[in-house]
Symmetry: C2
Subunit: 341 residues, 2 copies
DNA sequence: GTGAAAGCGCTAACAA
DNA sequence: TTGTTAGCGCTTTCAC
């Protein structure tokens, strides 16, 4: 309870120097492995002193003199609700780590005030840059104060052309998902898309149409249905779907597919025998454990985080416009070959 | 590309002082609102200079002189796989924020080396303390290096009695879940528990038995089944369950309940009419969108994070042993009243 | 009321 | 090969 319980005045470089009988600069050199040539025994004495005393460098002092920290700020809008943000953080963390940087994470849960204060706190800590991320792919207004140090948008983008962004390749994902179905011989592929306009909605549709075109199949608007992007949406679409000639369905996301499974099962229909299904997102907890396990296309959240820090650190070749990250297909068991006719 | 693009030498307190025609100490006083009596006009000149110059305090310098940072470290073992860690982070973040602290997050994804380096990096940044958290409730060995500054375990605990911990009240949760069923008149309540020993398994079983006892119902071991704690487990349990007299089932977690729903549906049985079901965890994405929506008991991850920082900051009365956080029941629509007999 | 000055722990010239 | 020294940006006595 009293002021220095457990704190016992940290040992500093000076203490080490004194113990080793050398100067602080010598200690500094051995600690940092600079190219200065330090004598064998001086080095050894220092090393010994370091671990006898349990010396641990003070990162704040170091950063102060170097003028910049090894921090990368990550502000996320919804860390709590889905695993998505977690995956972005994870990817960013790993990459940052690899380059000797540390993540400062702030969650704003949509609160603008929290966001402003998070950003300002990060700036005060002289972060190397800030990753601004959203839990679903969308356009954002870059908050004031950002762009001051380097900013990169992750899983979102801005009309403000000068701020870099990395986003999932929705269209490529839509294309690949559709291809998974086409490759099994399906000709009537329905698409349960969401109703609300969004990069996901438009992008995936584009990809779907492109895949159809490549396969020489005419686009049939009657095969794309508007649904709520949740279990309920997939479930509700079943009657209409069964009235259509579709033998395969591309769902806007895994949750829709889950609802679809349910509706089908209620009617004694089976996936994939009666209908082949492919999802989008690859939400492990859901997709991998449905019956049958759901083939889908993964939203590359980790990669988004990783690439985000790479562009922040200038490791990625500059590109005009957002960097689109590939959404890799995940093959499981919800797709069967179309009946030959 | 060149060394100081965008960096333009940060404006310091000295710049502000010069601009305002006062000394740095005066600036410091107004910035920090110390109780020093600063004249009206000096104060105003300083404030004006601050925002003309766009001054922003350097947190590193400040921390250096104060000797301690406002950082709280949070090391998590699995931020990516589930939303669980995200909720802990969120809770911790909010509480830390409220007390003027910032979260330094590191994810170790089970890797011991990463963990050690994360901890050491946090220590170098002179964090106020470290929250060590796991994504599922379990016993851990406190990593070396921890306990040096204040450490608190979140969602885990250690035999090492001296390190504080905050964990979910599994037994209370098991009790309440069972009660939800009992309250509707069910007398034969099955329990689909996991097989692997764990605090969750033992705790929930304890709670289940306690609730039964309170209701004057004899414990029937034949009503507790061992299943894999996933969809597959719930699904596989259906035959045995149907052979039992159970009219209600308490599932080890929501995923098991999800598999159970599936198996039941395959047999044309309906929840809750044919069988009442209650889960555990309250995984939103799943539980809230099943058909019918699943009644369950929530794992209080946010609260765990929040309480974690509270005990770290010494805001929580000390307690012997881990602090058990309540798991609140979430009523949805998977429970029906038992048939009167 | 306000300012001068001494550090916080460390790095980086530069001297020796 | 090693030591001296001047800061990094800020807080905080202590004088004036």
């Amino acid at each position: 309870m009293n002021k220095d319980e457990g704190v016992r005045r940290a040992v500093t470089m000076r203490d080490v120097a004194r113990e080793a009988g050398v100067s602080v600069s010598t200690v500094s050199h051995v600690v940092n492995n600079t190219d200065a040539r330090i004598g064998q025994d001086a080095r050894e004495r220092v090393l010994r002193a370091i671990d006898e005393l349990g010396y641990r460098p003070n990162a704040m002092a170091k950063n102060l003199v170097k003028g910049s920290s090894r921090f990368i700020g990550l502000v996320a809008d919804a860390i709590a609700s889905t695993p998505f943000a977690g995956r972005i953080i994870h990817g960013a963390q790993e990459e940052a780590w690899q380059h000797g940087h540390v993540l400062l994470v702030a969650n704003t849960e949509g609160n603008t005030a929290a966001e402003a204060s998070a950003i300002s706190m990060m700036l005060e800590h002289k972060v190397r840059g800030i990753l601004y991320s959203t839990w679903y792919h969308r356009e954002v207004a870059v908050p004031a104060g950002l762009a001051a140090p380097d900013t990169v948008l992750v899983n979102c983008f801005s009309a403000q052309a000068d701020v870099r962004a990395v986003v999932p390749d929705e269209s490529g994902g839509g294309h690949d998902a559709t291809r998974m179905l086409l490759d099994q011989g399906h000709r009537h592929v329905a698409f349960l898309n969401t109703r609300a306009p969004s990069p996901a909605r438009e992008g995936r549709l584009l990809g779907y149409r492109r895949a159809l075109a490549e396969a020489g199949i005419a686009y049939d608007p009657g095969l794309v249905f508007q649904v709520r992007p949740e279990q309920e949406g997939g479930f509700a679409a079943v009657p209409a779907l069964l009235r259509s000639p579709a033998t395969a369905v591309f769902c806007h996301n895994d949750r829709v597919a889950m609802g679809l499974y349910d509706g089908l099962r209620d009617r004694g229909l089976r996936v994939p025998d009666d209908l082949s299904v492919v999802g989008f997102d690859n939400q492990e907890v859901i997709a991998a454990h449905m019956r049958p396990p759901l083939s889908t296309v993964a939203l590359p959240h980790e990669e988004l985080g990783r690439r985000g820090v790479r562009v922040l650190l200038g490791l990625e070749p500059a590109e005009a416009g957002p960097i689109a990250v590939n959404c890799p297909p995940v093959h499981r068991r919800s797709i069967a070959a179309a009946e030959p006719r």
